[in-house]
Symmetry: C2
Subunit: 342 residues, 2 copies
C-alpha cells in the first residue's frame, strides 16, 4: 500500500472513530481498527504528518488526535462512502409526507420533522421562492358586519388569509362583486406585481365602488406581499440541547438565527454551493463555530425548487446524514410535484 494512501485511510479511520466516540483517538486504537498490519509507531508517524498538513490536531501535547475542520472537509469531499436510505425507509417517509399534504407548507413542515427525528439535528425546509408565484385566486368571505376576509391562493399552493375591516357595511353580495372584479384583474398575475402603485391605479379603475375598494385592495396587497415572502419550516430545535459542544449563549444565538429566514437562507445556499456541507468556521458565524450545516435541493418542477437543511454538531455522522438528506429531498420533490399537479 502506498504511504499516502495509508495516510488517507488513517485519516478516515480517525474521523470515523472520533465521530463515534467523541474522544481523541490514539495510535493504538487506529491499529486495532485498520486491517493492514502496521505497528502503532508507524501510525504515529503518519498521524504526525497528517497533523503537519493541518488535517488532525491534538487537544493537548499528549492526547490522541482529533480531526481539524480541514480534516473533516477532506473526509467529506474525498473519503467518505455514502450510506443511502433503504427502499423501505424511503417509502415510509413518502407515505408520511403524502399523509400531511394539506398544503406545500405543511408538507415541508412534515419533512423537517422527519429529518430532525432521523438525524437528531435541527432541520429546516425552505418553501419554493414566493417571488415566482402567480395569483391563482382571491376569495372573499363574509365574517362580520364590518369585517371580511380575503384569502389569496397562489400557483404554488400557498394560502394567505387576511382579515380586514371596512368603513361601510359588508354584505355577501358585495363580496361576490369584489370577488369577480378582483379576480378578473389579478388572476394569473405574479404576486410581486401587486405593488402599492398597482393597487392605486386599480382602485381608481373601480369607479362606483372606489369608496370601499381601498381597504379590500390593501388587504389583497398585504396578502400578496406575504405570499411573495420566503417561508421556512423549522423543526427539531430541541435537538440543539443535546449538543454538548454548543454552549448556552451560542445555543440562544442559533435559535435566533433559525427564526430569521433570510440569514438562514444565506447559509443554506452557501452550504449547497460547497458540495452540500458547510462546517464550523466555514459558516463564518461565531455562534456556529462548532456546528455544521448540511443542505440539499429538492425539485418539484423547474420553477419550483427549495432546500432542506440540517444543523448539527461539527462532529456528526456525515455519510449517514448527507445521504439521508439527499434521499428525503428526492422524496419531497416527488410528493410536492404530485401535490401541485405540475
Amino acid at each position: 500500500m502506498e504511504p499516502t494512501e495509508r495516510k488517507m485511510k488513517i485519516l478516515e479511520a480517525v474521523v470515523e472513530a472520533y465521530i463515534k466516540s467523541g474522544d481523541p483517538i490514539g495510535s493504538k486504537a487506529i491499529c486495532d481498527v485498520l486491517d493492514f498490519n502496521v505497528s502503532s509507531a508507524t501510525v504515529r508517524n503518519d498521524m504526525a504528518e497528517l497533523a503537519g498538513l493541518g488535517l488532525l490536531e491534538q487537544p493537548h501535547t499528549s492526547s490522541g488526535r482529533v480531526p481539524t475542520e480541514l480534516g473533516y472537509r477532506v473526509y467529506i469531499d474525498d473519503l467518505m462512502k455514502p450510506q443511502p436510505l433503504g427502499k423501505r425507509e424511503l417509502t415510509a417517509i413518502k407515505d408520511k409526507l403524502d399523509m400531511s399534504s394539506d398544503t406545500p407548507e405543511k408538507l415541508l413542515e412534515t419533512a423537517a420533522d422527519i429529518l430532525s427525528r432521523i438525524t437528531g439535528c435541527a432541520a429546516a425546509a425552505t418553501s419554493p421562492p414566493g417571488e415566482n408565484a402567480l395569483i391563482r385566486h382571491v376569495r372573499f368571505v363574509h365574517t362580520g358586519s364590518y369585517t371580511a376576509m380575503a384569502v389569496l391562493i397562489t400557483s404554488l399552493g400557498s394560502v394567505k388569509p387576511k382579515l380586514f375591516r371596512c368603513e361601510y357595511s359588508v354584505t355577501p353580495s358585495l363580496l361576490e362583486m369584489f370577488d369577480k372584479a378582483i379576480n378578473e384583474r389579478l388572476t394569473g398575475m405574479p404576486v410581486t406585481a401587486v405593488t402599492p402603485a398597482f393597487i392605486q391605479s386599480t382602485a381608481i379603475s373601480f369607479g362606483d365602488m372606489s369608496m370601499i375598494m381601498p381597504s379590500v385592495l390593501l388587504a389583497v396587497s398585504e396578502a400578496a406581499k406575504e405570499a411573495s415572502a420566503d417561508g421556512t419550516a423549522i423543526r427539531g430545535q430541541e435537538n440543539l440541547f443535546s449538543m454538548p459542544e454548543l454552549d448556552p449563549a451560542d445555543g440562544k444565538k442559533v435559535m435566533e438565527l433559525l427564526g430569521q429566514p433570510r440569514e438562514l437562507n444565506k447559509l443554506i445556499s452557501a452550504a449547497e454551493a460547497r458540495s452540500g456541507a458547510l462546517i464550523g468556521s466555514e459558516l463564518s458565524h461565531p455562534a456556529l463555530k462548532n456546528l455544521s450545516v448540511i443542505a440539499a435541493n429538492y425539485t418539484a418542477a423547474p420553477q419550483c425548487t427549495g432546500s432542506l437543511a440540517l444543523i448539527g454538531p461539527l462532529r456528526m455522522n456525515y455519510p449517514k446524514v448527507i445521504s439521508t438528506l439527499a434521499g428525503v429531498a428526492d422524496v419531497v420533490g416527488e410528493s410536492l410535484s404530485e401535490l401541485l399537479d405540475i
Copy 2:
C-alpha cells in the same frame, strides 16, 4: 411592628433580593435593605423561624437563605405588589398586535412574541378552542387538472386549506357546483359535526355527483378536523438557553413539551386555577422542577377565550411578569374581539 409582620417583611425582602442576585441572602444584607432598625442577629432569629416553617432554606449549613417553593408561593399569593405596565407600553403593544392581525392565529403568534421579548421567558398563546367554531364557508379553488383546494373558514377566523386530488378532471365550473352544494349544507354547522358518518350520509344525498364527491367531502372533513383541533403559538424558546437552572437534558424535554399542545394546555389550565402561577414541583413534571408557568386568560367574547402563558425560571420577577401577562391578556382580548367583529 408585630413580630410575624416583620417576618413576612423579611421573607419578602429575601425573595426580592434573591430574584435580583441569584445568590443566597445573608442576614446582614437583609438588614441593609429593610428600613426598620433591627440587628442582624434579630433577622437571623427570624430567618431561622422562617426556615423552620419551610419558607426559606440554606443551600449549606452556613450560607445565606434562599426561598423554598413554599416561600415563593406565599410571596406570590400574599406579599408581592403588582407592577402593571404603563399606558404607553400597553398602547404600543396594542398597535403591534393590530398590525399583524391577518388572522387570529397570527395575532396570537405576535402576542407570544411580544411577551417572550418583554419577559425573557418562553411564551405560549392558545387559540380559542376550535370545538366551538362554526363553519363560516368552504371555498374551492382550481389548482390543476386533477387537483383542487378546499379552504375552510371558521367563525373564529381560522383558515384551514386542504389540497386534494380527484380521479376525474376538475373544472372551475364543477368547483362552483361543489361550492354551492357544500356551503348550502355545511355553513353554520359546528366543525365538530363534520364526522365520517355525516360525510357518508351527505355523499349519498348528492346523487349524480356522488362519483366525485367523496374526495371533496373527505378533504372538507379533514379541514374541519384540523379546525377543531386546538392551536398553540409558541415563541421565545431561545430564552430557555439563558436559564442556568435548566440543565440541557431538561431543556430538551421542555422543548418537546412545548411541541405538545395537549400537555401544555393541561399545565396552563392548572396554572390558571392556581392564581395564575404554578411553580417548580407544583407542575408535577420532572423537567420543569426548576421552572414556573405563569398563565392568564384572555377573552374576546363569551365563547371565544384562550390563554397566554409564560415559562421561565423558578427565580423570576413574579410581580413584573404576572402583571405584564395580565396586561397583555387584556389587550389581546380587545384586539381579537375587534378583529372578529363580535
